[in-house]
Amino acid sequence: MKRKFQSITSRLWSAAALVVIIVIWQVAASAGLVPGYMLPSPVEVVQALISDFPLLMEHAKVTLAEAFLGLFCGVVLGFVMAVIMDRFDRLYQALYPLIVVTQTIPTVAIAPLLVLWFGYEMLPKVILIVIVTFFPVTVGLLNGFRSADRDMINLLRSMGAGRVQIFRYIKLPGAMGQFFSSLRISASYSVVGAVISEWLGGFNGLGVYMTRVKKAFAFDKMFAVILLISVISLVLMKLVDLLQKKCMAWEQTEEKH
């Protein structure tokens, strides 16, 4: 009960901070401290969001489709990589440093190359999203697999369990917590990745829309689309949380004796 109360008050604080920032921003804009063409006021941003809403939704559909497809492929790839790297120690030693290196390559730098190689359609965008989303999943799952309790594994071995059964009953369920933390990160990466890849080429999508309004100096629309992207990312992360609660029902029952 007390804990619930604390979590509500902590949310109140963050909500209050947000409100204060928006109020300061609005006041600064209304008082003419910042020229309107440089920084639109929050009210103007919301107006732009409302007036452009149908158009934004059209673009959002494309971006979301890319993000989902890329995220799906990224998670599948990340999962497969984690499983085989856990199974074969040599592969782990060989591939782990390489995987880390892929994450040091700036996305913005590689995106135009992908466009050159794979064209302006969906493929280069999905590839880029796969590159940014598989990594957290692979690392999270590998950590989960490797932190499985040795005593637990020995106990199952004493019962005659083979490698597959040990994976199924101990390693995989034990890594679920880390998998979902990684998935939350990957979900937000997938949207940002889609937008970045659209900046550099494409016909539809929020990133394309963003470059258009930027060229038109319509900063209120620019902020509106940023707001929309943030909201989409937050919704996706929340969906992952809900999925986690559903898949990890035992977590809910803990500490309720």
Partner: protein, 249 residues
């Protein structure tokens, strides 16, 4: 129902001998304790019996069949309950059956009647985190029993429990043993526990660990409630203490 024979088992790690020439025998439905200080090689011996470790020398027989270095015949229970937090109690205890190839539903059905006997009625659908320490150990024992109703290895199973819970677990264990036909090898460093529960005690000591002495507890089972307060109990305890002190000199 089982006879376990361990004969001349020696095991070393990195050139250091941990246990040397250990021979013990467990007869059907008996509880045999291995008593010794921590780090004396008790757990190594356990891993050899369960087949997880291959001994350098020596053999292990279960009902006349050699099981040296073969896991899947004898299961054990540790101080840590090792229940999987993401499986309900019934799915935890049924796990060895599922590993053995049984369908989940069938395994649950087979486990169901034992919940009453083991004092676990009503916990079937709960998760381990919702159970007290004592209840979790009961569930762990039921899981061990469902794996093999012949022989169980228990490695300090009650040592993490508080004194009062431990006492009630001892009584419970003796009760359960009256109903099910299970031979038990019991590792402990608690002399009282060993005398109270065992038919036979092997004292393990020295470096490398070997059997210093074996003591038969003649008190009939079920043990009377005040056994721990009797002269006989104290004399057993005294004899064991003397043996341990002798070996340390």
């Amino acid at each position: 129902m089982a006879d376990l024979v361990v004969s001349g088992v020696t095991k070393s790690f990195d050139g250091r001998t941990i246990i040397e020439d250990i021979s013990i025998e467990i007869h059907d439905r008996e509880l045999v304790s291995l008593l010794g200080v921590s780090g004396g090689g008790k757990t190594t011996l356990f891993n050899v019996i369960s087949g997880l470790l291959k001994p350098d020398r020596g053999q292990v027989f279960l009902d006349g069949e050699e099981i040296t270095g073969k896991p899947g015949n004898v299961s054990y229970m540790l101080q840590k309950d090792l229940l999987l937090p993401y499986r309900t109690v019934e799915d935890n205890v049924a796990l060895p059956l599922v590993i053995g190839g049984m369908k989940k539903k069938e395994a649950r059905k087979k486990a169901a009647p034992y919940f009453e006997e083991f004092g676990l009625a009503g916990t079937e659908k709960k998760y381990p985190a919702q159970l007290s320490g004592g209840m979790r150990q009961r569930a762990a024992l039921l899981r061990t029993y469902l794996f093999s109703d012949r022989l169980a290895l228990l490695d300090e199973p009650f040592s993490a429990l508080d004194t009062l819970t431990k006492r009630s677990m001892h009584r419970w264990y003796l009760d359960v043993m009256e109903q099910i036909h299970l031979s038990t090898v019991f590792i402990t460093h608690d002399i009282d526990e060993a005398v109270l529960l065992s038919d036979q005690i092997y004292i393990l000591g020295g470096k490398p660990g070997h059997i210093i002495d074996e003591i038969r507890i003649e008190e009939p089972k079920p043990r009377r409630n005040d056994f721990q307060l009797t002269e006989e109990f104290l004399s057993y305890k005294k004899r064991i203490l003397e043996k341990i002190e002798e070996s340390e000199e």
